[in-house]
Homo-oligomer: 346 residues x 4
């Protein structure tokens, strides 16, 4: 079959590879019907994620049709249309038993396209199928469902929920890439008084407003001033970091009010400075986290009941065999305007 | 009257000063019966707290007898024996209405010995007396009650509660000064499986064990190894920073398990490095905070019912007029073994 | 001045009474600009609330202009346009310090139109003015603000928040009077997957749909069946009781899923049966409560930012001197279609 | 093999029955080394639990040695010494994924000795072995571990945790049978200011004091008066029902303060009256629940670290073949003083 294979920093190929097979009784073999590319895949290709060993099929987000399941799989059956989530869960370890699946100690966590072969292929082997895939109702289309594989639960759990967004809050979201925009969408589930997005790219600021931000600012503007005006001079109730560089994280810690939350969602490659000399006295909570996908069933229900609208997040569509083109477009968002790209089996 | 007056960095005098008077209908005038010195007072004397303007009477922890109250005071009466807390609360602002008194926007917060004259004097004016003093039952002695003025609620609220200590947790406490030891005492209220204290001073490690630490380690020892052995290899559920320098904060972020909490209690004069390149994926919650003293009534009840035992925290006792000696001893703990010093009206 | 005075069961008069005067330094004297009637006022008139002693001016919801304040009032000034809330708060007692103002031990709680004269008058004395009134921004009109005096915070705090409504939940609301409809409005702040309202009156079911209910059922329909269909057979995540009779409470306990919440908002005059023989094993949480109005500032912010829309709750408008007519209409909702009635100074 | 078999109301026999065999790949076959009897077993024998179909081997609490496991079991191995918990968990359903194992939809929940054969036998088949058994460290003896099979997690989760016991609280526990006494033990993990136990049996009141109750009262005494004296007139912060009859539940609702919690742990056979006419205004939270055993790993850690002391809960010890004698003694606690009885393989 064909697959997008990482052969080391800077080297990705649309290779012929052997079809996967069941290796464990709890595996499912899934035909990929739709798949997307994540910013993390670009990090891997730059060589930033040393835990990825070449050759490795990339990808951790897909929709597919189950071809075959192992003898230990009970709830997933051949023919099922399923969501393949970025997080696998053994279902047995301490973290899985506490619904913290991202930290799975039993062989799960973020493994697809990372420690084992991933979803950017015609077929994929999914371990722990019962607890790592989700049956899709007909009412949820492939494209919307793809948003559930990573960016919706990530922004909702690690940004909105860890940030403790409450009705009436003023929420600052730094970064308006796919994750930041998904944070706008999922923050709105809690009806903040205002969502203020900060991003240097005008097109992304426009996108932020399209998805419901009340204001979208360039970082050079008086962001703190705008937030203070909205909050009787206090600052943001919640600041969500959705970029992954020290500057944006540090900005978040200056935007937040005493008693507020900074929720880091970005993937960081280096340390940031934490200004404890001013923060120690300000009752600030800083959270980090990998998504658990514990909210995936809820978000799926909300997609089905039209409480979540993700139209517009997918900007480019391809056939699966146009994977290299899709990567090209996705990796140059400033030129292409790409948010999420979707590739479909044809 | 006599008072300990800060006249600028390095300059403290036991001065004759005018007696305070009521300035606001919600003030109380209190005769100081017992008072203590805080590490923060030493910071002020070093010039580290520029918001303190000389001349200023220091001190924010005392027990006293009410001499007179303003017309707007309802619950405090002349003759009452009261605790004067480090935090004043206007009772009306947004933060006071949310029980976050430390962040009071109405003229309270940490003001005594900071923005107005404090408690290291024969008398002190206490603003917002109804919501900033606590009537003391006879069953709680002056010395125990003094520990309620700052270190018990600080360690309990900012360390133990913000750190979300739960029964069965393994708790690391970095620093065994008065705040760290109070954190040992108040963490035990939640019955952790183990409390591991880290401090370079052997005497303080002994003190930590006296107050209930299960282990007390020098920072040069394999602290993480000890914690991992107690937690099936995961690391501490909660790490409490009770020193206030970057190294100890950063140590806390390495000791904590995925899904755990770092609660910063220390007063910091400079920034620390936050290693987001490893923390972003680990589901860590970092909290900072100034005490609210919202738990003071509860802690007082527990002192009265003997659920809290603070014997041994006061190592040195003086008359009020021996204030300078008390400062000398308190500022050289390595030589004197001082934890808390108490000064009494005679 | 004129006021609506309760003279015992069944006897209400639009009387000439003396103007109120300041009785305490923390009082404010307020001219009533707009006022409404509550279902509780009807209960009082039936003699159901024996703690109300005749003669008593009724009413606990109003908008007004401050005429005069006592010497102890700091944040409210003559000329201010303020919301007078159904709950007064002394700001000093244990419950007020914990933001549970409805249970105030210091002379507050629900006192207006209950233990002291209320707001259905040309003027009203408001105790504890700093902590019991709320300055209104120009952007919030009188009629919308009136909804903040009781029904919005009551339905939000006692129904939605105590019921722990979460995004994606299926919420059943039993009763579509003003409180039930306000529960529909405020539940939507959390974006449930579905809100199902149950009420025997077709007009109220229509109103429920107007305010955002996804379904509105007669109690004789298969309510549980509808809820199970929405929840894979489990039942409602949250059931909110907004009537106040045993039958509706008991219905709520049958509608809720294992692990769900029943939030009682209704005012009850008699006991209900709790079927512990089936509930003991089902992990159900039942809450009761009087509103604290702790969320009033937040809800006010949301009215100002157009996140809350209360248009349509007021169905009838009168001059203040038409108070008796307003009572007539409000007390016969089945005939008049009345939800909330508003009376304005002219 | 031998087993205690229920043959219908009033009929229990120590029968010869076939040895169990593996029926599912996730089963384990366990040799019973120690087992106990639960009050629920007596209910079954009275015919109170119609979901139990005769003939059925009773028992849902045991310690054993694994004889054999199915092909789908990963973490449990032949030879392991394990705790068999009263709750089985499929690990895959919505409730299991949310750590609410007691409500398992996938074939688990309370099944042992209820819907399938139980532990009062020489061998037992345990479904979902990976997520329904717990490896025991050598440091925890059989007798202490037996207390973990039901009464410790039940009292801790359904009583103490659902009741939201906090340090400093005053806790009333109604009923001093094994569950009530375990509630005393586990409530102490949170260091209440006072624990007041109510039970009519003098011997059980003595036991309550032995396990750490501060007071133990006969229901005819002025229980509310005692609680009010401890709480400035408010009433208990938390009331835990540990009997299972309407009177004790209703007593709990009268003992609790405004803002407090009533946690029902008792197994009820009939309804109780909920006095909403007084409770509606008092901010009371009532919880019910079946244990999830989600805290079993934590409690096990605390037994191992000597933070939990259960000495004295087992009052009578037998050989496994003395099952009928053990039942006789356990079913007449007033005469025998029995709390928990333990039966051991010899």
């Amino acid at each position: 079959m064909k697959a997008l294979v990482y052969h080391g920093p800077g080297r990705r190929y649309w290779d012929d590879v052997p079809e996967p097979t069941l290796q464990d009784p709890e595996d499912a073999l899934v035909r990929v019907d739709a798949v997307t590319i994540c910013g993390t895949d670009l990090h891997i290709l730059k060589g930033d994620v040393p835990t990825v060993e070449a050759p490795r099929i990339l990808g951790h987000e897909a929709i597919g049709t189950v071809l075959e399941v192992g003898a230990g799989v009970r709830q997933v059956h051949a023919g099922d249309r399923v969501l393949i989530s970025c997080i696998s869960s053994c279902g047995r370890c301490r973290y899985c038993r506490e619904a913290r699946y991202g930290q799975c100690l039993g062989g799960g966590g973020w493994i697809l396209g990372h420690r084992i072969d991933g979803t950017q292929a015609e077929q994929v082997r999914v371990p722990f199928a019962d607890t790592s895939t989700y049956a899709l109702p007909d009412s949820v289309g492939d494209e919307a469902a793809l948003m559930l594989a990573d960016i919706l639960p990530t922004s909702y759990e690690v940004g909105v929920t860890s940030g403790a967004v409450q009705p009436g809050d003023v929420v600052a979201i730094v970064g308006a890439g796919p994750i930041g925009l998904a944070a706008v969408i999922t923050a709105r589930l809690l009806t903040p008084s205002a969502i203020v997005v900060i991003d240097p790219a005008p097109a992304r600021r426009d996108a932020a407003k399209h998805f419901g931000a009340d204001a979208a600012l360039d970082p050079s503007e008086d962001v703190l001033g705008v937030l203070k005006e909205l909050t009787d001079g206090l600052g943001a109730d919640v600041a969500i970091e959705a970029v992954g560089v020290p500057e944006t994280f540090e900005m978040c810690t200056t935007l937040v009010r005493a008693g507020g939350h900074v929720a880091n969602v970005g993937v960081h490659g280096g340390p940031a400075t934490l200004h404890l000399e001013s923060l120690w006295i300000r009752d600030v909570t800083v959270t980090t986290g990998l998504v658990d996908t514990s909210t995936t069933p809820t978000l799926l229900r909300m997609l089905a009941s039209r409480r979540l609208n993700v139209d517009g997040l997918v900007t480019h569509r391809y056939g699966l065999d146009e994977m290299q083109d899709a990567y090209d477009v996705f990796s140059r968002p400033a030129d292409t305007g790409a948010l999420k790209v979707a590739l479909f089996r044809r």
